[in-house]
């Protein structure tokens, strides 16, 4: 008790703080009501004049009905009906709600009042539930906002309390309050918006990649985790998370889809059953299973054979990630066909998907086959530019695929260059794929051989996506690689391409500002990172306004013409798409 008095004295008269019942209750672990009583008894104890605390009270109750005594029948406890719109202010031009039949409802008022006005305030209440001390302060509180000054202490104390302990302080906790991650159910719908596919993808990919020596374990871990995390949602969560649900939602759902889903579920169940140990195998199995389903399914819907063939072919090659996307394609095929105009007209994504499935499978194959890897790059560049800038134009054919790839890339503009570099290496690796692809297509499970490519592919993806994850640190390597290409000047220093701007008067007397790029020798001593940064920035600024122009240029000018900003923008944007595309093309070329 005395300790409490000491505390109050110190807080009030030495530190000149406001003490509310809440802060007192936190400071001494008292129930809120007890704290209120303590404050009251502190106030009641006579104190020297210099140490007279000022109290603020809280009155809860029902106010007298300010006007219209007719409601004063006050038959019983419920007498204090309050006409709803009897709030003091009546906005101009608005009629009383009362007239139009708004309900009359009881109103409880919680009034915070300083000690000196307490009696006045009490008189206004027709019924009082409770009066208690809210706070003590060294001087009368003129500003009610000061009661918030103790909040930091309260929050701090509350943060340390368990919810059980806080109930002892008077907090009423519902048993339905849960800490923790948002779980499925309703909330999932909102979280779905934010992060549909990427995190899962990345997570998977990175966990696969991390230690090459023992990929099985990590894969299995991630699998397990995912399985644990959402055991319920049946369709395609763990392994094929890339926006599957969204996509299927976008479609007018057909019976076909559900059929497919069932199949997938089966595949999933299988996966779970097989459990982690031979994850690759399991994966393989499910993949093939899906292939099967996809095949039969498409056959059923009398889809062009070519696409059916192409789909499974691509699936194993591209590893877990791509598989999802492709599956989606097969999903959407039947839906998009019979669906009426509006659906077809929906966002370009759908149209592209359609085009992808229709033309993409054979057209892409052929086009990719015919294109040798090297010249692909500029082409890719062109395509990408058009993709980014002219979103509306429904670029047929390959666009769908690019879109899918773009989904991933959207996040990672920074590290694209690095990915570009990676690609070159991967191209060689990719040569082993064709063999694996064919067995995968066959219904019976290919045992030992297949896992490798899957892993390999996974690794490829991984390398890319690892860089996705850590864009900033990857800047230096990007720089280095670029330098290899750049000539060394006569003075022995490396050269660097720099975009500059010059302004001059042209023939007709107009001021013309032109961007141009030139090589500049670079001092090797100079720290690399800042330079890279600067370069990137310059590029960014350079290519944003020029993009359409650049696109045009790259369309017109044959491939490598290193003109202006198109050049500078190219390495930044193009590579990622190229990685995806290039590898596919390589793959088909080998075939």
């Amino acid at each position: 008790m005395s300790k409490l008095t000491d505390y109050l004295t110190k807080q009030l008269f030495i530190e000149k703080n406001v003490v509310t019942y809440r802060s007192l209750s936190r400071a001494f672990s008292l129930h809120a009501n007890e704290a209120k009583n303590e404050l009251a008894s502190f106030l009641e104890t006579p104190r020297p004049a210099a140490e007279q605390a000022n109290a603020t009270f809280l009155i809860s109750g029902e106010l007298n009905v300010p006007r219209k005594s007719n409601t004063q029948d006050t038959t019983t406890t419920e007498g204090d009906k309050m006409v709803i719109d009897m709030q003091e202010e009546v906005a101009v031009g608005e009629v009383d709600v009362e007239e139009t039949g708004g309900d009359v409802i009881p109103q409880t008022t919680m009034l915070l009042v300083p000690q000196r006005d307490l009696d006045n305030a009490r008189a206004k209440f027709s019924r009082i539930f409770a009066v208690h001390i809210y706070s003590l302060s060294p001087s009368p509180l003129h500003d009610a906002g000061l009661i918030c000054s103790v909040l930091p202490q309260i929050y701090e104390a509350d943060a340390k309390l368990s919810s059980d302990a806080s109930t002892l302080l008077g907090r009423i906790v519902g048993p339905h309050v849960h800490v923790g991650k948002v779980i499925a159910g309703k909330v999932a719908s909102s979280s779905k918006v934010a992060a549909p596919s990427k995190p899962a993808l990345k997570k998977e990919a990175s966990s696969v990649s991390e230690p090459k020596p023992k990929p099985k374990e990590t894969v299995s871990e991630s699998m397990k985790k995912e399985v644990k995390e959402d055991p319920l949602p049946p369709a395609a969560k763990p392994l094929k998370p890339s926006g599957k649900l969204d996509w299927s939602k976008a479609k007018a759902k057909g019976a076909n889809e559900s059929k497919l889903k069932v199949n997938e579920e089966k595949g999933e169940a299988k996966m779970e059953a097989m459990e982690v140990d031979l994850v690759e195998d399991t994966k393989k199995l499910s993949v093939t299973k899906e292939n099967e389903t996809g095949k039969t399914f498409t056959a059923k819907t009398s889809k062009a054979e070519s696409s059916t063939a192409a789909q499974p072919a691509e699936k194993p090659k591209r590893g877990t990630k791509r598989k999802t996307a492709l599956q989606l394609d097969s999903d959407s095929e039947p839906g998009s066909k019979p669906s009426p105009k509006p659906v077809a007209k929906l966002p370009s994504r759908i149209t592209t998907r359609k085009s992808d499935t229709e033309g993409g499978s054979d057209d892409d194959v052929t086009s990719r086959q015919s294109t040798p890897p090297a010249p692909v790059r500029p082409k890719g560049k062109k395509a990408i530019l058009s993709d980014d800038e002219e979103d509306d134009v429904p670029v047929a054919k390959s666009k769908g695929k690019r879109k899918i790839a773009a989904k991933k890339q959207d996040d990672v503009p920074q590290s694209l260059k690095a990915m570009f570099d990676v690609d070159d290496d991967e191209v060689i690796q990719g040569s082993s794929r064709p063999t694996t692809k064919i067995p995968a297509k066959e219904p019976s499970t290919p045992p030992e051989e297949t896992p490798d490519p899957v892993i390999e592919v996974a690794n490829e993806d991984v390398e890319m996506s690892v860089e996705d994850d850590t864009p900033v640190p990857k800047v230096p390597p990007k720089k280095r690689k670029e330098k290899k290409v750049i000539p060394v000047g006569k003075n022995g220093l490396k050269k660097k391409r720099v975009v500059k701007q010059k302004t001059f008067m042209d023939d007709s007397g107009y001021m013309v500002t032109e961007d141009y790029s030139e090589y500049e020798s670079v001092d090797e001593e100079e720290p690399e990172a800042p330079k890279a940064r600067k370069g990137a920035k310059a590029k960014k600024t350079a290519d944003t306004p020029d993009e359409p122009q650049a696109a045009k240029q790259s369309l017109k000018a044959p491939r490598r013409a290193p003109s202006k900003s198109s050049e500078s923008s190219a390495p930044k944007k193009a590579p990622p798409k190229l990685t995806a595309k290039g590898s596919i093309q390589n793959f088909f070329a080998k075939k």
Partner: protein, 512 residues
């Protein structure tokens, strides 16, 4: 002193009555804009088209039933332009209000941009307004005394009975809307009378679940209501007041914050209406004596405090840092600091449907709140309730179409239920997402509780449709900063109470 007997301290901790969120009715649309419908390429005309297609059949059916007895045997003319002169008929179409005062995008383009635009008008209403009815074929001008009181706004699907006049206008004798949408809830035949009688109160067991409705906290406003918000927080956590208050608080199962939790970052041109209602002294100069100047921190502090006690549903509103077009998407959880750690803290879209059921009614284990079913001690007869909540923008906008003496917000809100559309003005004067294949603002299911936030004053009414017995409690939740008022709704009988947090003898502002 006279503050009487010490407050009793409960011997065992009081627990709150739980409720659970039931997965939304598949028939009620989701307002989430996801990858599937996130496209801004479409023309808004589609919304009107879809809306007319959805509602025309319903209006027609109702109109036929309503007017079949009428002498003159009115026929239904499917296209508004095909009405015949001097022949009683009825037509169905979308109402278009041709209002000279209404903002017009063409004016906007034609405007001289070197001159600052005039402030937006508080009302579009004027005497020269014309009502048109439009469908795919064209528009026809509606005239008639009957329309005066109809309280129409653009975008409503309406059936009009009448005949064409010499001048080519359509003289309206009667009109008809789609009527209230179907409702799942079954209401007992012996319904409670609307004034909450004493016996209603006493018959309701103390375990009825209540929910608290708050809107317009406006944290960070120049004249803040910090103290009231703190009182509110303490009331909700169950620490404020005496035993009665704490018991009352323990029945509040969850709180819905219907928008405008944060004050606008820049002071926008204030609605004159608001200025009138805002009697509080403006604070001069931004004084920062309260604990921090960071509004989101203040807000999340309070929210965390509440979140420890009960589930929170928070909607974005006009002044929140969310996009302006409807449906507003959920505020990012990360904004709310500690509160976001609670799975029971839910960030909702702006119009949103919420289904709340008693805790024992947990049927789906995936709902995440399943564990609360353990505490089925408080099982009650409370049925599952469907709530339709918005932050007030649709109503605010519709209200500009109408002259306020004959019309008021509550009846306008009621009308939206009869129109079966919660935001008919949406593509016209209320910004909304260019939906292509749907119009999610069509009310396909009449909610049990229709909550509209950020209104100038509290008002509520039970809306019933006699022919079908559908009932819906409309609650206009006032802005908390201006009124300090929250509403409590009993989920069992939809009884409403308000709690007002006030200050006396002191200011809400920090004195310089």
């Amino acid at each position: 002193m006279q503050f009487g007997t010490p407050l009793p301290v409960p011997t065992s901790p009081v627990t709150r009555i739980p409720t659970t969120i039931v997965p939304p009715n598949p028939k009620s649309p989701s307002f989430v804009i996801n990858a599937a419908n996130k496209s801004y390429k479409h023309q808004y005309a589609n919304i009107y088209f879809v809306r007319l297609r959805i509602l025309r059949g319903l209006v027609e059916e109702r109109a036929k039933r309503r007017w079949k007895e009428i002498a003159g045997d009115p026929v239904f003319v499917p296209r508004v332009l095909e009405v015949e002169k001097r022949k009683l008929c009825f037509i169905i179409g979308t109402v278009f209000m041709d209002m000279p005062m209404k903002p017009n995008v063409l004016d906007d383009i034609a405007r001289d941009h070197s001159i600052p635009a005039p402030a937006p008008r508080p009302k579009y209403y004027s005497d020269e307004d014309a009502v048109m009815l439009e469908d795919e074929s064209g528009r026809i001008r509606l005239v008639g005394e009957r329309l005066r009181t109809a309280g129409l706004v653009t975008g409503v699907i309406m059936g009009a009975l009448g005949m064409e006049t010499q001048s080519g206008d359509f003289e309206v004798v009667d009109y008809c809307f789609a009527g209230m949408a179907p409702q799942d809830s079954v209401w007992p035949k012996t319904t409670v009378t609307e004034d909450m009688d004493v016996d209603v109160d006493s018959s309701s067991p103390s375990r009825d679940e209540w929910i608290a409705l708050v809107s317009g906290l406006q944290v960070g406003d120049p004249s803040p209501a910090d103290a009231q918000i703190e009182l509110l927080t303490e009331f909700l956590t169950g620490e404020l007041g005496g035993e009665d208050d704490q018991t009352k608080s323990s029945r509040i199962s969850r709180v819905i914050i219907a928008g405008n939790s944060l004050a606008p970052a820049v002071s926008v041109a204030v609605n004159p209406e608001e200025v009138q209602t805002d009697k509080k002294l403006r604070r001069y100069g931004q004084e920062t004596t309260t604990f921090t100047t960071h509004p989101t921190e203040n807000l999340s502090g309070n929210l965390l405090d509440i979140a420890r006690s009960m589930p929170i549903h928070i909607l974005p509103g006009a002044s929140d840092p969310a996009w302006t077009i409807l449906p507003q998407q959920p505020l990012p959880r990360a904004m709310f600091g500690g509160a976001s750690a609670f799975s029971t803290f839910t960030s909702e879209t702006n119009p949103t449907y919420i289904q709340i059921g008693p805790s024992s009614a947990v049927s789906s284990p995936s709902s995440g709140n399943a564990s609360s079913s353990k505490t089925s001690a408080s099982t009650s007869t409370t049925p599952t309730r469907t709530l339709l909540v918005n932050s007030g923008q649709p109503l605010d906008d519709m209200f500009k179409y109408l002259a306020s003496p004959p019309h008021d917000r509550l009846s306008l809100a009621e009308s939206t239920l009869h129109w079966r559309h919660m935001a008919p003005t949406a593509p016209d004067t209320l910004w909304c997402h260019p939906y292509f294949t749907t119009d999610p603002f069509v009310i396909s299911q009449t909610p049990d509780l229709y909550i509209i936030g950020n209104q100038p004053r509290f008002a509520t009414r039970m809306v019933t449709e006699k022919e079908s017995g559908k009932r819906c409690r409309v609650v206009l939740v006032p802005g908390f900063r201006e009124t300090g008022t929250i509403a409590l709704v009993n989920l069992r009988n939809l009884e409403v109470k308000t709690v007002c947090f006030k200050l006396e003898g002191m200011t809400g502002e920090v004195e310089a």
